[in-house]
Symmetry: C2
Subunit: 112 residues, 2 copies
DNA sequence: CTGTACCTATCGAAAGACGACATGTCGAAA
DNA sequence: TTTCGACATGTCGTCTTTCGATAGGTACAG
């Protein structure tokens, strides 16, 4: 269907989360969603229905782990941070992403 | 799950098909699949379960149309070619793709 | 004490891609 | 002449990711 609303490419949410954790350090889910929205611009709203399942997925993969803590706003929150495996996974996902975009670029650049 | 096998980004198949038709002209499904595999390298196998539903989708959108013909190998084949709307759609999808990749690049480039 | 922003979570639906399967044709080799 | 492999189109069920809706809960300001 028409994709006027598509903001971040399908399947890249994991990468964006992992990369954010790598860049910023430990974050909780809500802040993560806010950051991704912010970096992407006002038009994007990242729903909780996306972020939390993704976080659960990443934790199950063993790429992030959880510790309960207290936020800057004094609320009980779940902090996520990269594991060792997660740190490696960021590199893997970046490599995959770049390989994939290179493939598409090959089509866009093809003149014959 | 783990993405060791990911080849072309999810959601870009339409773009690759449309762009191939724009570049090469009319093609049949099987040749299209072969071309995409070839451009992407040996590792990718584009299954029929992907290409034919995509072609049906694109035809329903009005971006491609069909004429029956005979292939170089003397078989009855369905040739697809871009419609006027399809020609415009290629540009739209390329713009969307570039916007989306720019967003991801913003994360990958962020150092803070 | 009431509303608002903050925060975590689940559910069902939609969509794209895939593997497996079904069906059939052409030409060449055995 | 039968059989086999490459060519060619298509469907079906399943998996995964994402989203909107919904729900439950806390801290603080007014």
């Amino acid at each position: 269907m028409s994709k006027e609303k598509s903001e971040i490419p399908y399947g890249t949410l994991d990468l964006l989360i992992l990369r954010s954790l790598e860049t910023i350090g430990r974050m909780h889910g809500y802040a993560l969603a806010r950051r991704i929205e912010q970096v992407c611009g006002e038009s994007l709203q990242l729903s909780q229905g996306s972020i939390y399942p993704a976080l659960i997925r990443l934790e199950q993969e063993g790429w992030i782990d959880t510790t309960w803590g207290v936020s800057e706003t004094n609320r009980k929150v779940k902090f996520y941070s990269l594991t060792e495996a997660g740190r490696k996974q960021v590199a893997v996902e970046i490599a995959n992403w770049e390989k994939a975009t290179a493939l598409v670029a090959r089509f866009l650049g093809a003149t014959s």
